[in-house]
């Protein structure tokens, strides 16, 4: 057990406590960025001038009519930008573009005394455009060879062609699957002010305050020290607020700087969906080999992600997709190519899992489609291919704790009564012509750490005041994932004080600088390490003070439950507050800045090799569904999950992440149906009435989640593991159960091709195909997928980028 992971007696981490802001949430008193507007005087409101063309050159922007609208104060255009007219870090995202790159692209912003005035002003702005040919679908882009960024290749083991040639079974196929809209309940929002000293202060709904600060600074032509960004909390982020808030914050800050008044920019839902990026959809083309025992021999695949109009985070998303195409399975020979289509769509971005889900979906789809052709149950085929201890991933990282996969798998088989229920379902299906059930079990192995090594650092600031009260702040942002709750528990544990002694101040770039995005599930690992480090610096000093008072060696001083004592639990002790007061009068520093860096990581993004992850998080889910053969409608009857969160820092929080991630994954794979009009490029699902996320009716009727026992992780704070992203991928179990239920309408061993999302309509067509016994979508043999040739991902291309 490492010093980082060891828990003291009486640790506050590990206790099930409600979210630190729960009482504020339920009473409506928790404040989000837009709730601050009423508390701010003289606020101007911003509204975008969106051009309704997928691709066009802007030839003129006339603002006279807009400024004549009562209440319009100013129209912001490219000419107003004092610094760099760019909203990103790659210089491919002009903030005020002269070329419209997607339907709804904003080319100017109107500031008004009221939102109504700004809206009417935006209608009055005249934009002349010359329409240009547009590429809307990923297949259009492939045909036109419209790509952007690096084209990495992941290679491992014996030559793939030879391995396939020597395989007993070779199959090939294609799979195009959809992305996902984040649909955080709180849309993007920024409120910018400039103080008497010219300091720009932006409150932003951002997962990455430091990068928001940097973009605001470069747009305004300022140094980072002249811009402060604060995030009180977000109403959900899910990766959608990792890069997308920056340009919006910059528009607000520009408006504030030019008018001298506070500027609020809040997107309404339609603007948010039409203007901001989403999870990447992918096109996967593959060949796969198996031996007679159902063991994978080779995988040859090309993944083309739909990046949208600019690069954004598409390169690291693609890299993570490639690094997760193995999921939990040992594949001796691997050749996986990746490329990023450039299309006239929103710039797709981070979304919980960050490419991992897309990579894993490919292999799970392959296994689900091939199992009947190989004559194995899907459960058997998956289990036969699990990593064994000692094996390594295609990029060369040993799969540490691979045995946890088999352990969790067996636990779910047992707790879900999998085999008996499978038999029961077979009997049910035999007697039920119109309703069929399916039960599927799938694994998750997900790598934790930013692939980009530099991002694996965290900072914190811990203040102990003279009265013994503690105030902490750290570099991570709160978006509902319970990070602040965990950080309070970490601080209370590290200082040996009750949880009630510790308060937390909002995330601000002038408290903790140079932070990484709260992303990649890494918030608790990085910031928890930093909070713990700061607390330990303080305790080291307080130990000296207490040692003198208690007449024990400083190394023997213990801080437990708000008291300070020597090793003897029944010996003399002092209240925490007394030691703090003594320390103050002894002129001992009572605050500290903490820092943490994840050790042992290395990654060569050009070669796609190294050990980019500190550890893997594991999980297994079994899901049972029932499909109505008349309509394709279905219900999720029961879900059993065992998930590995290490030694949980906060079990109620972790349970919430597992359940919430799972349901969000089910949404992506079954219900959430992003549609673009392929002719105009317009998103036709730009509202809550057309884009459906899971509601109560999609919640599993019987939902049983447990955390894996004996799951200590040596390499993370107090033995815990990251939990934000991995559970999303447990939702593959629902998709595979739907595939099996659809297959039950057809003859034995029919292979079912299921679209993603598997909407009731998609399931209906799968049922119809199963009835007709159309298994031709998996081809025996087949030719190699396209082998794109292009530049690798360059390390410098990642340098300024984050990963979720």
């Amino acid at each position: 057990m490492s010093a980082l992971s060891e828990r003291p007696l009486g640790a506050v981490v590990g206790a099930s406590v409600p979210h630190e802001a729960a009482a504020l949430h339920v009473t409506g008193q928790a404040l989000y960025t837009d709730d601050l507007v009423g508390r701010t005087k003289g606020v101007l409101h911003a509204w975008p001038v969106q051009v309704l063309a997928a691709h066009a050159r802007v030839t003129a922007v006339r603002t006279d009519a807009a400024t004549a609208v009562p209440g319009v104060v100013r129209v912001l255009t490219a000419a107003d930008v004092p610094g760099v007219n760019d909203a990103g870090v790659k210089h491919d995202e002009p903030l005020f573009p002269d070329e419209v790159m997607f339907f709804g692209h904003a080319v100017a912003w109107v500031l008004g005394e009221t939102l109504e005035a700004a809206r009417l002003g935006a209608v009055a702005v005249e934009v002349d455009v010359e329409e240009l040919p547009a590429l809307v679908t990923v297949r259009d882009a492939v045909a036109a060879e419209s790509f952007q960024g690096g084209r990495p290749t992941l290679l491992r083991g014996p030559d793939v062609e030879e391995a396939l040639a020597g395989s007993a079974h070779v199959f090939s196929g294609e799979f195009e699957f959809a992305g996902q809209e984040h649909f955080y309940l709180e849309t993007h929002c920024a409120l910018a002010q400039v103080d008497e000293n010219g300091q720009v202060f932006v409150q932003s709904s951002t997962q990455h305050p430091t990068e928001t600060q940097e973009i605001v600074a470069h747009v305004l032509g300022l140094a980072s020290s002249e811009v402060t960004v604060q995030c009180l909390r977000m109403g959900g982020g899910f990766g959608g607020k990792e890069m997308q808030p920056h340009g919006l914050a910059a528009v607000a800050a520009l408006g504030a700087r030019l008018t001298g008044r506070p500027v609020r920019l809040r997107l309404n839902r339609a603007q948010d969906i039409t203007m901001t990026g989403k999870r990447h959809g992918f096109l996967a083309q593959w060949r796969v080999g198996f031996d007679d025992d159902g063991r994978l021999t080779a995988l040859d695949a090309t993944l083309t992600s739909d990046g949208g109009w600019s690069l954004d985070l598409s390169e690291p998303v693609l890299a993570r997709a490639l690094c997760h195409i193995d999921n939990a399975y040992w594949i001796p020979a691997v050749r996986v190519n990746g490329r990023i289509a450039k299309t006239n769509k929103t710039s797709q971005t981070a979304f919980r899992g960050f490419g991992g889900p897309q990579g894993m979906l490919v292999i799970e789809d392959v296994l689900g489609r091939c199992a009947p052709a190989l004559g194995f149950t899907a459960e058997e085929l998956r289990r036969r291919n699990f990593y064994a201890p000692g094996q390594d991933t295609p990029y060369g990282q040993p799969v540490r704790h691979a045995d946890r996969l088999a352990t969790a798998w067996q636990q779910v088989l047992d707790s879900s009564d999998f085999h008996a229920r499978t038999a029961g379902i077979e009997a049910f299906n035999a007697g039920s012509p119109h309703l069929k059930r399916g039960l599927a079990i799938t694994p998750v192995k997900f790598g934790i750490s930013f692939n980009f090594t530099a991002f694996n650092q965290g900072g914190a600031l811990v203040h102990v005041y003279k009265d013994g009260s503690v105030l902490i702040t750290h570099g991570g942002t709160e978006m509902g994932q319970g990070l602040h709750t965990k950080m309070l528990q970490v601080a209370a544990t590290a200082l040996g004080v009750p949880l009630s002694r510790v308060r937390l101040a909002p995330t601000r770039t002038d408290k903790v600088p140079n932070t990484s995005a709260t992303a990649a599930s890494s918030g608790a690992d990085l910031n928890g390490g930093a909070v713990k480090n700061a607390c330990e610096q303080i305790l080291a000093r307080l130990s000296q003070v207490a040692a003198e008072e208690l007449h024990v060696p400083a190394a023997d001083v213990r801080f437990v439950g708000g008291r300070v004592r020597g090793l003897d639990a029944d010996g003399a002790s002092l209240p925490w507050e007394d030691v703090v007061r003594l320390a103050y009068f002894s002129r001992v520093q009572l605050w500290a800045a903490g820092f943490y860096r994840t050790e042992g990581l290395h990654w060569d993004s050009a070669a796609m090799r190294g050990e980019p992850f500190k550890y893997f998080a594991y999980g297994v889910a079994a899901a049972e569904v029932e499909v109505d053969g008349f309509t394709g409608a279905y219900r999720v009857r029961r879900v059993d999950i065992v998930h590995d969160v290490g030694d949980s820092l906060s079990p109620l929080v972790d349970l919430g992440q597992v359940e919430g991630g799972f349901v969000q994954g089910v949404g992506w794979l079954t219900l959430e149906d992003l549609r673009w009009d392929e002719r105009t490029g317009k998103i036709t699902t730009s509202s809550a009435s057309t884009y459906k996320l899971p509601s109560f009716s999609e919640m599993p009727e019987d939902f049983r989640v447990s955390l894996l026992d004996a799951a200590h992780e040596d390499g993370a704070v107090y033995g815990s593991k990251a939990v934000g992203e991995p559970p999303l991928m447990l939702a593959f179990s629902v998709r595979e159960a739907l595939r099996q239920a659809a297959a039950a309408f057809g003859p034995a061993r029919v292979s079912v091709d299921l679209a993603s999302p598997a909407t009731p309509e998609a399931v209906f067509w799968a049922v119809e195909a199963a009835r007709a016994a159309e298994g031709a979508h998996v081809r025996d043999g087949g030719s190699a997928p396209p082998q794109p040739d292009g530049p690798p991902i360059r390390p410098e291309s990642e340098r300024v980028l984050g990963q979720t």
């Binding site: 409506g28 008349f630 036709t684 509601s695 109560f696 919640m699």
Partner: protein
């Protein structure tokens, strides 16, 4: 007429000078009550849910959850509203707030105040009683009688809902001294006649008709569940809005041996409660109509008046041979619903004319069914809706009415299928199902493909035949 005002969390606040298009949500937030949030501005997500004191069916008042983003605040003149802030404080949580907090019912917290209000409305439902036999709760009812459909109009992106369900099912009954429970025993606020620039609530039907005769272009609003979307998403700024949802002449419900008559301004939640099973087809249909939050405001008159081709009540009422009572300053007339729609969002209703009531002739068909095809079971719009009303005598179909939504510019009757069904032996309807698949002119859109819509027409009849005995 006194100047308009609204009582929020026990405090009465004037509404002077508020523009007619201002929603209750925007007004609340500008007043400093920022607990209610805008998540979608179209009544889909429920983040703006608040409690309004409405007339009840079993108690004089019923705390009713509504989407504040859809209701013009002037429509609440004289009313009482409670928000999440008014239910409790961090130091003194309401029972609903307590259960949500301790069970992990909030993560990001943004949807939470809305959930709390919707849950509180069900907490206070006077006829919510614990289910007698423990272990027998349906998947959508808790042991405490909590009906999960009460939360069907609230979306959460973080939790996956399980802890919210557990919070709902853990609620006890309101305490004996619970002030809001006590409030339900006293009459609800009267609908205050309101007359400010751009927004008028006439006192009675004659006044409303006179006003419409004067302003034929006025927008008539009941629950504002459709109008609110136009205001928020498409910038509609009507010169004159006329609120008719509390007109007593439009709020009757009567059941006789000859006819069931339902007032056009009775909300869909009230329709279900007040009919009490008198129209079985509506009992199949209404629980699938949008969400409770919407049904608490939406009316039959509104759903038919907007003339949407996919308004779910129209197919159902077509299958029941319903007619509409239209009234204007010139008098009343009755129009068969089958003759009412003339084109996309157009009808025979003239400017100045109101739908007063819906009439369903008795006896109703002996076999009724309603099939709604949508992506989501709760809170979704139909891609196809098929309502079936048949009389089957000795295994033979003697009369058939089928109403379809989502397959043409208006809701339509499937007349060829009806003809094919008469004389058929139930449930051998494969031939008629083939005819049904040719009705209408379904389109491809983001909700469904035309091919799927066609297939679902056929399947709806086959499914009904398989599941509904004669």
């Amino acid at each position: 007429m006194t100047s308009p005002s609204l009582t929020v969390n026990g405090r009465t606040v004037p509404l002077d000078g508020v523009p007619a298009h201002t929603t209750a949500l925007d007004w609340l937030r500008e007043s400093g009550l920022v607990g209610a949030k805008e998540g979608c501005a179209e009544g889909e997500c429920g983040a703006c849910s608040v409690l309004v004191a409405r007339p009840g069916t079993t108690t004089p008042t019923r705390w009713t959850a509504l989407n504040a983003c859809l209701v013009p605040v002037l429509a609440l003149d004289g009313q009482e509203v409670v928000t999440a802030e008014g239910l409790g404080t961090p130091a003194n949580l309401h029972p609903v707030q307590h259960e949500m907090a301790v069970r992990g019912g909030s993560q990001c917290g943004y949807c939470t105040p809305g959930f709390v209000c919707s849950m509180a409305a069900e907490f206070y439902r006077p006829d919510r009683v614990p289910i007698e036999a423990p272990g027998e709760p349906t998947p959508e009812h808790g042991p405490n009688g909590f009906d999960l459909h009460a939360l069907s109009g609230n979306l959460c992106r973080c939790t996956g809902y399980r802890p919210i369900r557990d919070a709902a099912y853990a609620l006890a009954s309101p305490a004996a001294d619970d002030a809001l429970a006590g409030r339900q025993a006293r009459p609800a606020p009267e609908a205050a006649p309101t007359d400010v620039p751009g927004f008028t609530r006439p006192a009675d039907l004659p006044a409303a008709l006179a006003l419409l005769a004067e302003h034929p272009d006025a927008v008539v609003v009941a629950g504002s569940t459709d109008h609110g979307v136009e205001v928020n998403l498409r910038g509609l700024r009507a010169a004159q809005v006329v609120a008719i949802d509390r007109l007593p002449e439009l709020r009757g419900v009567s059941v006789t041996d000859e006819v069931v008559e339902i007032g056009a301004a009775v909300t869909l939640s009230e329709v279900a409660a007040r009919l009490d099973g008198a129209v079985p087809l509506l009992d199949l249909l209404l629980p699938q109509f949008a969400s409770v939050l919407i049904r608490n405001g939406a009316t039959l008159g509104g759903n038919l008046g907007t003339g949407s081709p996919i308004g779910d009540t129209a197919p159902g009422l077509l299958a029941l041979d319903a007619s509409l009572v239209l009234v204007s300053a010139a008098g009343e007339r009755e129009v068969a619903l089958a003759d009412y729609f003339t084109g996309y969002r157009r009808s025979v209703r003239t400017a100045g004319e109101l739908i007063r009531a819906v009439r369903i002739p008795q006896p109703q068909p002996g076999l009724v069914a309603f099939t709604k095809i949508a992506k989501r079971r709760f809170d979704d719009i139909s891609s196809v809706a098929v309502a079936i009303g048949l009389d089957v005598v000795d295994g033979e179909v003697t009369r058939a009415r089928i109403g379809l939504g989502g397959v043409a510019a208006t809701p339509i009757r499937a007349r060829a299928t009806e003809e094919a069904l008469v004389g058929a032996r139930w449930p051998d309807v494969a031939a008629a199902a083939d005819v049904l698949a040719t009705e209408g002119t379904p389109l491809d859109d983001h909700r469904a493909s035309a091919a799927y819509r066609r297939a679902m027409l056929r399947q709806a009849l086959l499914k009904t035949a398989a599941e509904v005995p004669a």
